[in-house]
């Protein structure tokens, strides 16, 4: 992380190798999608007819609708909570991200329990609306469920953007900008890029989530990929359907990153003096509306799950029936977390070095793994596992861990990169200048400053792995599924009380992990803030 121009070191080479390794499944999937010489093209099968285009149109339409709903909710949350205080807005936006840390199948289960054909809310409404009662099993219902899972991401982006705008309140007040001019030029205009970036980000995640739509009986390309691979045993066809979607997703991700990067040019240090509080009534209304939005996203599904579960003993029984899956989930998620933190730390540090030295690096390309459909990565890994020596990993938990690693390594890398980029390089430079050995530098300079951040990204990656479904469905070894997959497979066959109880068990497991995560984030911020110049 030195500022000086330096040559390659062994860890730079190692980082490039890890980045290339992380991209290998994607490359294998793309290679697999192309027909061997002489065979009919899988691309022609999908994209030469209406089938592929219909799947793409349906998926993109659903993602667009979900993203629009999510951004609208996020706007309301950011504006309403922002009236109370910026800190409150950040806290609520953080809470709104909690659905990202539980499996899609859990949320779908909860919404079905609430608004499905036999859902608690649906049954309550049926005497009033009769056959016209709203049902979740429709594209609109699926889009709403998707929106409620992902709107926290948009809320975080928008709250951050609003904070940036509102940091200019002294200038607005001193220069007495008229309300209309302020609304158009100082509020709306700077919010356009962050809003579009948030929309693209949410659309990207919705596009790659076929679990919620699938459980609500809305078929997307992700469902087709799964059917093509698992039911029709056609890896080539599945990959040929997923690769163009991956290209669309990569483009959307690049555009979102570009908009996000240009939305907040760092021309000026933010004024840190807080805006005087709004009138009490306005703050109370804002806080109440924001809390209501959050309650809709979090409290409704949890309450319905609790109602459907029936009793505490049902939770114990459901857990007893899923103890093996819980143990398997804990093991593979922990391994994935450790893998992502270690490799992500290496990649982030070397990415930063390359950037400061002004040289090219392949590390940023690993972000593609987060943008492309997860099933494509899994198919790529399965193709690799047909070759020696990778075949030893086939149908093992290690293979599943590698799948999680490929999928969530970009999260760890980008979070650590963003964190370390803001850090002054002097402490490390001082260690070098004063001749500390590599071991002492790590032991006394790097580790005390960075262990909370590494722990946080490791835990985040573990949580994401524990709640992941798409990769798990394709890569989990026979007879050893994860909790999320069990929930997904039980939903249409098991009694609702069992699925609700199992979902609540998972929530109870995720809760403490999220608290530890918040603690590590807070500790990491305090450590770096204490050493900021």
């Amino acid at each position: 992380m030195s500022m000086s121009r330096q040559g390659w070191r062994w860890y730079d080479v190692a980082a490039e190798a890890v980045a290339a390794g992380a991209l290998l499944p994607l490359a294998a999937a793309i290679a697999c999608s192309f027909a061997p010489p002489g065979a009919p093209s899988a691309y022609a099968d999908w994209w030469g007819t209406a089938r592929g285009w219909e799947a793409m149109g349906r998926s993109m339409g659903l993602a667009a609708l979900a993203a629009t709903l999510a951004v609208a909710l996020a706007w309301m949350l950011a504006a309403a909570a922002g009236r109370a205080s910026t800190r409150y807005a950040f806290a609520l936006a953080g809470l709104a991200c909690l659905p990202l840390l539980v499996p899609s199948s859990l949320l779908a289960t909860a919404w079905i329990a609430a608004l499905g054909r036999e859902g608690a809310v649906t049954q309550a409404l049926r005497p009033i609306f009769g056959d016209a009662t709203f049902s979740l099993f429709s594209p609109t219902g699926a889009a709403a469920a998707l929106a409620l899972r992902y709107f926290g991401l948009a809320a975080l982006v928008l709250v951050y953007a609003r904070r940036r705008e509102e940091a200019h309140w002294p200038a607005e007040q001193v220069f007495r900008i008229p309300p209309l001019t302020r609304a158009v030029h100082l509020r709306l205009r700077p919010a356009i890029k962050p809003t579009v970036a948030a929309w693209l980000l949410v659309a990207l995640f919705c596009l790659n989530d076929h679990i919620i739509p699938g459980m609500l009986l809305v078929s997307t390309y992700g469902t087709q990929v799964l059917i093509q691979y698992s039911a029709l045993f056609d890896a080539r066809g599945a990959a040929a359907l997923a690769v163009p979607m991956a290209a669309v997703a990569a483009l959307a991700a690049a555009l979102a990153l570009r908009l996000g990067a240009t939305a907040w040019p760092s021309a000026d240090r933010l004024l840190t003096t807080r805006r005087p509080p709004a009138p009490l009534l306005g703050r109370a209304l804002g806080a109440g509306l924001a809390a209501a939005i959050l309650a809709l996203a979090l409290a409704v599904p949890v309450t319905v799950l609790a109602y459907r579960a029936g009793s505490w003993s049902a939770l114990g029984q459901a857990f007893a029936g899923a103890r093996d899956q819980a143990w398997e989930t804990l093991q593979v998620a922990s391994a994935a977390g450790i893998l992502c933190a270690a490799a992500g730390g290496l990649l982030a540090a070397c990415w930063l070095r390359a950037r400061r030295q002004g040289r090219w690096t392949a590390v940023p390309l690993v972000l593609l793994n987060l943008a492309v459909p997860p099933s494509l990565l899994a198919i790529g890994l399965l193709q690799l596992m047909q070759l020696s020596p990778w075949d030893a990993l086939r149908n093992t938990s290690a293979g599943l861990v590698l799948g999680y690693g490929a999928r969530f390594l970009p999260v760890a890398t980008v979070v650590l990169f963003a964190l370390w980029r803001e850090e002054p390089p002097e402490p490390l430079a001082a260690a070098r200048v004063h001749g500390l050995s590599g071991y002492r530098t790590v032991r006394h300079v790097l580790w005390p400053r960075h262990w909370p951040a590494l722990g946080a990204v490791g835990l985040l990656a573990a949580l994401l792995a524990a709640t992941e479904l798409e990769v798990s469905i394709l890569l989990a070894p026979a007879g050893a599924t994860t909790l999320g997959v069990r929930l997904y497979t039980l939903i249409h066959t098991a009694p609702e009380s069992l699925t609700s109880s199992l979902a609540l068990d998972m929530l109870l497991g995720v809760g403490p992990a999220v608290l530890v995560l918040a603690l590590l984030v807070s500790l990491g911020r305090r450590r770096l803030a204490a050493e900021a110049p």
Binding site: P170, A171, R176, I177, L186, P265, D268
Partner: protein
């Protein structure tokens, strides 16, 4: 009726920690008042209170003996507008230079053509004409600061509050902007309150100086008064190197414990005296029997400065040429007696 902008007995606290106590600042129309003090002395807080951006715990801000218009929120006329230059440029990152001025001018009762004329003239004046379509992120530090000043001046405010406007600029950029600023202020003649920790900047721009130390006003007066007759050693040290020599005056000499530590005093000066002396007030005459000893000789932009020890005190003396450390001599008062 007092036509000045006055902050009366202003006090402000963060929680229970007072950062400003009973501070009084007066800005006369067409004059520049420098608010001089070290970092953390309460300059920015006082400026924000004067601008109505924070509410004082005690005191009030008045113009013409009435509460300032921007504090009460009533509609403002052209005469009681304020402009402000913040410590950081505080620009709107998504707006071009021209849009910054256009938005500040909107709703101020000017038609489009008049607005455009004023914007064009000010941008040219601030050497920003070629950058009118540029975003702040693509400007240098000096250009951003010039834009911040142009934004503050575009409404032709009656009062201009500036918080360390040159603090983040390097030598040449600072000097250029200081020249531009002095010319613009001479033409537009707003009442200016300039917060700065830089004595040079304060003395070059200001007519009046208010010295803030630890959240309280240590001295207020014209720039000459404060420079020539600092209230105490702390104020004097803020303005540059200064020594305090105490003793008994008589026969043109100041004696301390029987030793003649300073010569050249007016014959009329008698009795106990405590003098605050600047380098230009003193001369060093080498003399092997003298009470003063040169500790070191420092080069300054205008020549040399000696650090001299006399009767246990340390004094700074302007000197015509280099002088070896250890040289012994006498100190002579060359300026008027403070």
């Amino acid at each position: 009726m007092n036509p000045c902008l006055v902050g009366h007995d202003l006090g402000f606290a963060y929680g229970e920690r007072f950062v400003l106590r009973q501070a009084r600042a007066v800005v006369a129309p067409g004059r520049v008042t420098a608010l001089l003090g070290p970092s953390g002395s309460g300059k920015t807080t006082l400026l924000w209170l004067m601008a109505g951006l924070q509410t004082p715990r005690t005191g009030r801000v008045v113009v013409c003996d009435a509460p300032a218009a921007w504090q009460t929120g009533r509609p403002v006329g052209p005469g009681d507008r304020i402009g402000m230059v913040f410590q950081t440029p505080a620009l709107w990152d998504h707006l071009t230079a021209e849009e910054h001025l256009e938005i500040v001018l909107s709703g101020k009762g000017l038609d489009r053509a008049a607005r455009q004329r004023r914007i064009d003239a000010l941008l040219e004046r601030m050497h920003l004409g070629a950058l009118r379509k540029r975003l702040p992120g693509r400007m240098s530090g000096g250009e951003r600061q010039r834009l911040s000043i142009a934004r503050a001046l575009v409404t032709e405010p009656g009062w201009l509050l500036m918080d360390e406007p040159l603090a983040h600029l390097d030598g040449p950029a600072r000097s250029d902007l200081l020249d531009v600023l002095r010319d613009v202020l001479a033409d537009t003649r707003p009442g200016v309150l300039l917060a700065t920790h830089d004595t040079d900047e304060a003395l070059r721009l200001a007519n009046d100086v208010v010295v803030l130390l630890d959240g309280a006003v240590a001295q207020a007066g014209t720039a000459d008064e404060v420079m020539l007759r600092p209230a105490d050693l702390a104020v004097a040290r803020l303005l540059g190197p200064a020594a305090e020599i105490a003793g008994s005056a008589g026969g043109g000499v100041l004696r301390c414990d029987g030793t003649a530590v300073l010569e050249g005093l007016p014959a009329a000066a008698t009795g106990p005296r405590r003098l605050i002396l600047r380098p230009a007030d003193l001369a060093f005459r080498p003399d092997a029997s003298g009470p003063a000893r040169v500790l070191r000789c420092e080069r300054t932009p205008s020549g040399y400065q000696l650090v001299v020890e006399v009767a246990g005190a340390r004094a700074w003396v302007q000197h015509g040429g280099p002088c070896a450390a250890g040289t012994v001599g006498r100190l002579v008062l060359v300026g008027s007696m403070p």
